[in-house]
């Protein structure tokens, strides 16, 4: 046996509520995060991810109250990201109940944050999130929730953060996010072939076979999705069954 493919429902949270946007825009309210997390746990989620989607942009710290509420009732690995700017931010999230903290924008402006956080708390709890968009033969890295384009190329940035001590890469394709047209398997398979750390594929889930393809073609170790699980378009059980039919190992 080997490690199972992880299915990770993601809660995009703003101001203590789950929200959902298309291509990082047009935000709508979608419920209570703790209720959603509990439901996902019962449905067989392998991890829960919560992203404070505009914490970085509006310079607000992540809602610790929500983190604590989720951590008190959900006993599977729990990743929290959004607006993480310092070692202190990482520490307070871990103390509030996160098992892993995801770093995005601040890791680009201050790469030392990634190395210091992984040294201080262990690589296993540092996830580096990358928002990437295809543009003339390359995937470029964007910051501040997809608002600012950087000069960084996604593949080399991912490799660099691995060397800095990141324990996992959460790759979101901005081209695919919210489109329900499938994951960016070209980007992910390239990434998986150069990474030694696990790859979480994100952005584009719409149909059952998209999640299967993210693993089979995109070579992802874990698949993350928000709205399809949130609106119960596809259940976590269905995804696992489909993966098993393809000979991939899953939990439950």
């Amino acid at each position: 046996m080997s490690l199972t493919i992880r299915i990770i429902p993601c809660l995009d949270v703003r101001g203590g509520r789950v929200v959902k946007g298309i291509n990082f825009k047009d935000i709508i309210d979608a419920g209570d995060p703790a209720e959603a997390a509990l439901r996902y746990d019962q449905e067989g989620a392998d991890e829960i991810c919560m992203l404070d989607i505009d914490a970085s942009y509006e310079a607000r710290s992540t809602t610790l109250e929500t983190v604590e509420k989720i951590a008190n009732q959900v006993f599977i690995p729990f990743t929290v990201g959004g607006g993480v700017k310092s070692i202190e931010d990482v520490e307070i999230l871990l103390k509030s109940g996160a098992d892993k903290v995801s770093i995005n924008t601040s890791g680009i402006t201050n790469p030392k944050l990634i190395s210091e956080a992984s040294k201080e708390f262990g690589s296993q709890c540092i996830v580096v999130a990358i928002d990437a968009k295809y543009d003339s033969e390359n995937w470029h890295v964007y910051t501040h929730g997809g608002k600012n384009k950087t000069k960084l190329e996604a593949l080399s940035w991912a490799k660099e953060v691995e060397q800095l001590g990141a324990g996992e890469i959460l790759m979101t394709s901005m081209d695919k996010d919210g489109t329900k047209s499938g994951f960016d398997n070209a980007l992910n398979s390239k990434l998986a072939s150069i990474l030694k750390i696990p790859l979480i594929a994100s952005g584009g889930a719409g149909k059952l076979n998209h999640l299967v393809d993210a693993v089979k073609l995109g070579k992802a170790d874990a698949v993350l999705a928000a709205s399809i699980f949130h609106y119960q378009e596809i259940s976590i059980k269905e995804v696992k069954k489909a993966l098993q039919e393809e000979g991939l190992s899953t939990r439950l």
Binding site: M1, S2, L3, T4, R6, D41, D46, A71, N72, Q73, F75, I76, P77, L94, K95, G97, D99, F121, G122, S123, Q124, C125, G167, E168, K196, I197, P198, D221, A222, R251, L252
Partner: protein
């Protein structure tokens, strides 16, 4: 009944405390020798390096109280809490472990040509090799959550209660008398993990 949870200062113990509290346990953090007063059962959670953990425990004068406690009362080691029960680890030559088991903790073998990822992180299968009170209501072959780079491989069969495979087979649960330890994290293993912790709370070795 009071459950002590060891905090050696470099690990996130909150998830274990939360999980035990959700089962109605009366938990208390154990940081210094005086904290052992009134503790009926001890849980030792932890992640990371055995060397730095033992050196912190030595500094806090916690090694002798832990050794005395585990001679008679129920003890549950989780992850690093399993590894400290051994005499030592490949990772640190200078710091000795608690020495309940005379063998050594080794690093995962990761041959260059494999896609095997280390740390071993995620859900993997736990195959029971012996029956135990702590397995009550649980089935062999279910998945539990792991995060580690070091492992226990050599040990007398009589002490091994489950095995798991990640490139190589290692001991994922071990026990001797009133001591039980898991390489996986029951506090992060969903319902099955909570059932296991509940069994520990009910255990009368």
């Amino acid at each position: 009944m009071k459950i002590g949870v060891i905090d050696y200062g470099a690990s996130n113990i909150f998830s274990v405390v939360r999980a035990l509290n959700s089962l109605g346990a009366n938990t208390s953090v154990v940081k210094k020798p005086e904290d052992f007063n009134g503790i009926d059962k001890l849980v030792f959670p932890g992640q990371g390096s055995m060397g730095s953990c033992m050196s912190r425990l030595n500094k806090a004068e916690m090694v002798i109280p832990i050794k005395e406690f585990i001679e008679e009362k129920p003890f549950l080691g989780i992850c690093l809490g399993l590894q400290v029960l051994f005499s030592g680890s490949q990772e640190s030559i200078e710091e000795k472990g608690l020495g309940v088991f005379s063998e050594e903790i080794k690093k995962f073998e990761s041959p260059e040509n494999t896609k095997l990822k280390i740390p071993h992180m995620g859900w993997n299968q736990v195959d029971f090799s012996q029956d135990h009170f702590l397995w009550n209501g649980l089935e062999s072959g279910a998945n539990y959550y792991f995060v580690h780079s070091y492992l226990s491989c050599k040990l007398k069969e009589e002490f091994i209660y489950s095995k798991t495979e990640h490139g190589q087979i290692f001991n994922s649960a071990i026990s001797k008398d009133n001591i039980f330890a898991t390489q996986f994290h029951p506090e992060k293993s969903g319902k099955l993990g909570l059932k296991f912790l509940e069994n520990f709370l009910n255990w009368r070795p």
